[in-house]
Amino acid sequence: METRRPLGFLLITPLGLVLLAVFVAPIAMMLPTSFRHYGAGAAAAPGWTLENYTQIATDPYFHEVLARTFTMGALVTLVCLVVGYPLAYVVARSTGAARSWLTVLVVFPLLLNLVVRSFGWMSLLANHGLLNNLLMTLGLIHAPLHLMFNLTGLIIGLTHIYLPFMVLVLVAALQALPKDAEAASATLGAGPMKTFFLVTLPLTAPGMFAGSVLVFVLTISALVTPRLLGGPAYKVMATVIYDEFLSDLDWPSGAALAFVLTLIALLIVAGAGLLTRRWTAAQ
């Protein structure tokens, strides 16, 4: 084992150098920027300050942005879980050709371009979009419903984007279920509903947890969909970071917000990992 170390280092060095130069170094170099005073673009003013972080903690504007981001994350996660479970159950129980077709149908939207999918939802949800058009033609409503540039539109669009992730995690969890557990429950006289709620659901809880963590972290980091479906009115952390770097040119403030977002995402992933390890150790 020891003797192979030089070869191991040789094999990993090229990838390691690229990661250091194009991933680790840029992130590390943004850290000092987040403690700078405001200066247009790259030209940060001299001196150091904690102001960029304290304003995120104290300014009501940032409170609103943070609250929006986490509300959006929590709601999308919840909807994905509720909507994803039945679909995952059907996929996990299917076999043969049906199984591969269902998998393809779940994976296809995942591979499809984000901008294209968001555009599809815009065509559906806009004031002159297909849905409002249909409802008005049918005479069900007289004025268009506001389905875009608000939380509703964001929840619909983001649920659509992250649902396949949730379904795939849940399918894996359902597949790992011991076959005997459900059969035993049925043998002991429990009906299908009772078996589901007392056996299947609790046994797949770790999978539900893993899927929820994944969807939550991806949702709070999303940029493209919130920008297209949230518009300029409904801003979340990722879109504020984008604007601070590209239009307001307040890089120090944007950098601080970027670190807050990263820290939250990494803490959630690390915390979830720790919990899962304890969970499996306890069993």
Partner: protein, 262 residues
């Protein structure tokens, strides 16, 4: 998992959820052939005019070419860097293998917009703003985790005694790898390659900060076009992307099985 037939209500619910997943795709496809700028019910006429408009628009054609160049360059580079690294990680030839794997895979959970703004500041400081090589390297960082994941899974499922047999029969480590291991894990590598290619082609939140002046990838071009207002040619170019994605997906399913890429 239990066997046996599924209740009908459950099948209907699953069907509705799948319909929800396909809905925006269908709407885009319908809008691309609709004669009116906004989709109406009932649709008023069918036309292929928007496709003709896209295929004659130098902006879109340039963007498609640029996206392909970027995706192919970064995917090939990512595979070339990832394969040796995965081989070392798989054999645990390095101290802290776990930590190194975690670092390599971390761009997956890092908010992409943060990588984007960090790189924007980095290239500005180094005077490399708009540099194509930096953009390719940024894409390498983003797509490498997909290649690494599938390659490690492939290596884990590969019977090590085959490689040992080749060594015993006199093959060098390198030729045993090239002649036995690499062909043995080719389905995993192909799946990783295709997924990396699609990821790079579709990437927006990092790309948008690093584009050379006057050039844009296809998704960024569509993104900016939407910002300017909805126009039916967006639906047409989106439909072309939908069809291309579908063809790639069916190819992967035929050759390697979709399960491998996730």
């Amino acid at each position: 998992m239990r066997d046996g037939p599924l209740p009908l209500t459950l099948k209907i619910v699953a069907g509705l959820i799948l319909a929800f997943l396909m809905l925006p795709v269908l709407v885009v496809a319908l809008a691309s052939v609709s004669a009116t700028a906004y989709l109406t019910v009932p649709p008023q006429g069918v036309t292929l005019r928007w496709f003709a408009q896209v295929l004659q628009d130098p902006n879109y054609l340039q963007a498609i070419g640029f996206s392909l160049e970027l995706a192919i360059a970064s995917t090939i580079l990512a595979v070339l860097l990832a394969i040796p690294a995965c081989y070392a990680l798989h054999h645990r030839w390095l101290p802290f293998s776990e930590a190194i794997s975690a670092l390599v895979l971390s761009p997956l959970i890092f908010p992409a917009v943060v990588i984007g703004v960090a790189l924007l500041q980095y290239v500005s400081m180094m005077g490399l703003r708009g540099n194509f090589v930096m953009l390719v390297l940024a894409h390498v960082v983003i797509v490498t985790p997909y290649v690494v994941r599938t390659a490690l899974a492939g290596l884990a499922g590969f019977d090590p005694s085959l490689e040992e047999a080749a060594r015993v029969l006199g093959a060098t480590r390198l030729s045993a790898f090239g002649l036995v291991v690499l062909p043995g894990i080719r389905a995993s590598l192909l799946a990783g390659f295709v997924f990396a290619l699609i990821t790079s082609f579709d990437e927006v939140p990092v790309t948008v900060f690093l584009l050379p002046p006057g050039q844009a990838t296809l998704p960024v071009t569509i993104f900016s076009a939407i910002d300017l207002g909805v126009d039916p040619s967006i639906a047409a170019v989106s439909t072309l992307l939908i069809v291309a994605t579908l063809i790639l997906l069916v190819m992967v399913e035929r050759m390697a099985g979709v399960r491998r890429i996730i």
